[in-house]
Amino acid sequence: MEKFEKLSGVAAPMPMINIDTDMIIPKQFLKTIKRSGLGVNLFDEMRYDDDGQEIPDFVLNQPAYREAQILVAGDNFGCGSSREHAPWAIKDFGIRCVIAPSFADIFHNNCFKNGILPIALPQEQVDILMAEAQKGANARIEIDLETQTVTTSDGEVISFDVDPFKKHCLLEGLDDIGLTFEKGAVIDSFEARAGAERPWV
């Protein structure tokens, strides 16, 4: 997995609540058997019209945000299906961090598995960053995972919480499966014990 340490980039504002995974990557793009190449279809139905032409008003089509690396959004981001295609598309587009007041559970988990940092902050602080994002390409936001801080272009510093294990994996770019394999003996003994207690499983 790609490491996440520090990031300095333009943030795209999407002040909508309940941005669901069907919006992030509509189902017609789930028919792939690969993880890559989904970035062009990120937010497809909001981003392109029926003829496949870009809709100029949509934030990621605006010149200031075409290279955005951060997304600032409303409450309950990533709700809906478990499709990991959503973080794959976000990552493939080039976005490495999403900031919102809250995230849906599965999406939140999926981000960490793909080197994306989801940051949940109180609404007032998201409002500050939303205003910052709306300034366009001149306002670069800095994110430092080690110190757990977001710094605005005016130098305002906002701290965020992150699960220590997930932080560790993201900083080091660790692969979960490899880590779990190290506990192979514990799994073996659990399996033996549970198999004796609940043989019908």
Binding site: P15, M16, I17, N18, D20, D22, M23, P26, K27, Q28, L30, K31, T32, I33, K34, R35, E45, D50, G74, D75, N76, C79, G80, S81, S82, R83, E84, P87, S102, F103, A104, D105, I106, N109, N110, K113, N114, D163, P164, F165, D176, I177, T180, F181, K183, V186, I187, F190, E191, A194, R198, P199, W200, V201
Partner: protein, 468 residues
């Protein structure tokens, strides 16, 4: 010992390891796999030279993009990319030696319907699937939730999942449902009450007299939509109905093993003095047949209400409601019963079981679908379809003018050719009314099978109680 909730008990029974920071490794009893969220996971195993640790506990079935038309044996009915996904699952199932129900098998169907039907899902188990509606299996008193593809790969390789424990929420439905009010109305009403993010960070246990009174099918409908309320999982303590449902299923234990299982299952309920982080109580008497008007499952109203105005809301919901109304093509103040529809879809893992089809048939018997309306019924599995034919339900549907399809997800997410066209309005028994969910520009109103059947007859959103 301190008192525990049902969730606590299942959790403790499956805890393999807990790190100092609270990160836990949980053992997984059943892993269900479908064609859309698994190819990259199997590919990951191949690339790393890994195997499936417990193929005996891993069950695959293609459902999301299989055609549901009667001619589906003909491969040409599938688009190229769908066919590749299904073939990839066929191959992965064979290469890695997991249990498998191919499209040609009568037991094939929606993964969340096949699991319980075949007795794979049993009380007290941990069940995962790369699909958010895995919550369905919680109806058996098992801890069941959706996972992403990286986690699918993790479970395939290690039979465990890295987890943090969730908080406990109790949702109690007291009293008795009125006639015409169903499990779907309960689950939608709960989401209307708590919001789509109300359950985030929680595992919900549904309890109370109205939940106890539900059949296993109804309980699955309730748990199915726990995810729509943001919860990781929803569960219901097992009881005699649960045991009765499981008994004799192909993969349920038999003989002495059954007795041993039963003894443990009977201990699976929350202790009286267990701690709840949040409690929500609804009176069954206050629940009416409901429909959704917007593009979030929390946009729920009784069928007797009118389309709301954005000014009825506060905060971020004002803009969201405006966007929903524009998308749905609805004017505030319009009685919901005046909203005309073009399509009816009865099916999905929420409402594609035999009881759902019986409820629809009870309304449709001797009636006709409104002229010009497209109406389809997609049973949740080949076995549900067979049973409905045996009970004569299929004849009722066909005579009424419904298409009688083969099993699959179908128009629930429109990955196969069953789709709405832009502006088309659908009465659906599925679980998501998101923008474009049933086809780009399509407009979805969620409701119970009985309500959808009523809408098929009148061509409008309809209060089923008027047709009973």
């Amino acid at each position: 010992m301190s008192p525990k909730t049902l969730y606590d008990k299942i959790w403790d029974a499956h805890l393999v390891h807990e790190a100092e920071d609270g990160t836990c490794l949980l053992y997984i009893d059943r892993h269900l796999v479908h064609e859309v969220t698994s190819p990259q996971a199997f590919e990951g195993l191949r690339m790393a030279g890994r195997t499936v640790r417990a193929p005996d506990k891993t069950i695959g079935v293609p459902d999301h993009n299989v055609p549901t038309t009667l001619d589906r044996a003909n491969a040409a009915t599938m688009t190229e990319d769908s066919r590749i996904q299904v073939e990839a699952l066929n191959k992965n199932a064979k290469d890695f030696g997991i249990h498998y129900y191919p499209v040609s098998d009568v037991r094939q169907g929606i993964v969340h319907i096949v699991g319980p039907e075949q007795g794979w899902t049993l009380p007290g188990m941990t069940v995962v699937c790369g699909d958010s509606h895995t919550a369905t299996h919680g109806a058996f008193g098992s801890l069941a939730h959706g996972i992403g593809t990286s986690e699918v790969e993790h479970v395939l390789a290690t039979q465990t999942l890295i987890q943090q424990k969730s908080k406990n929420m109790k949702v109690e439905i007291t009293g008795t449902l009125a006639p015409g009010v169903t499990a779907k109305d309960i689950t939608l009403s709960v989401i209307g009450e708590t919001g789509t993010a109300g359950g985030t960070g929680y595992v919900i246990e549904y309890c109370g007299e109205a939940i106890r009174a539900l059949s296993m099918e109804g309980r699955m409908t309730v748990c199915n939509m726990a995810i729509e309320g943001g919860a990781r999982a929803g569960l219901i303590a097992p009881d005699e109905k649960t045991f009765e449902y499981c008994k004799g299923r192909p993969h349920a234990p038999k003989g002495a093993a059954w007795e041993a299982a039963l003894a443990w299952w009977k201990t699976l309920s929350s202790d009286d003095d267990a701690h709840w982080d949040k409690v929500v109580t609804l009176r069954a008497e206050d629940i009416a047949p409901v429909v959704t008007w917007g593009t979030s499952p929390e946009d729920v109203l009784p069928i007797t209400a009118s389309v709301p105005a954005p000014s009825d809301f506060t905060g971020g919901k004002v803009g969201a409601a405006q966007r929903s109304l524009d998308y749905m093509g609805l004017t505030p103040g319009t009685p919901l019963r005046d909203v005309e529809i073009n399509t009816v879809f009865i099916g999905s893992c929420t409402n594609g079981r035999i009881e759902d089809l019986r409820a629809a048939a009870a309304i449709l018997k001797g009636k006709k679908v409104k002229e010009g309306l497209r109406a389809m019924i997609v049973p949740g599995s080949g076995l549900v379809r067979a049973q409905a034919e045996e009970e004569g339900l299929a004849d009722i549907f066909i005579e009424a003018g419904f298409e009688w399809r083969l099993a699959g997800c179908s128009m629930c997410l429109a990955m196969n050719p069953d789709q709405l066209s832009p502006g088309e309005r659908c009465a659906a028994t599925s679980n998501r009314n998101f923008e474009g969910r049933q086809g780009r520009g399509g407009r979805t109103h969620l409701m119970s099978p009985a309500m959808a059947a009523a809408a098929a007859i009148t061509g409008k959103l309809t209060d089923v109680r008027e047709l009973m």
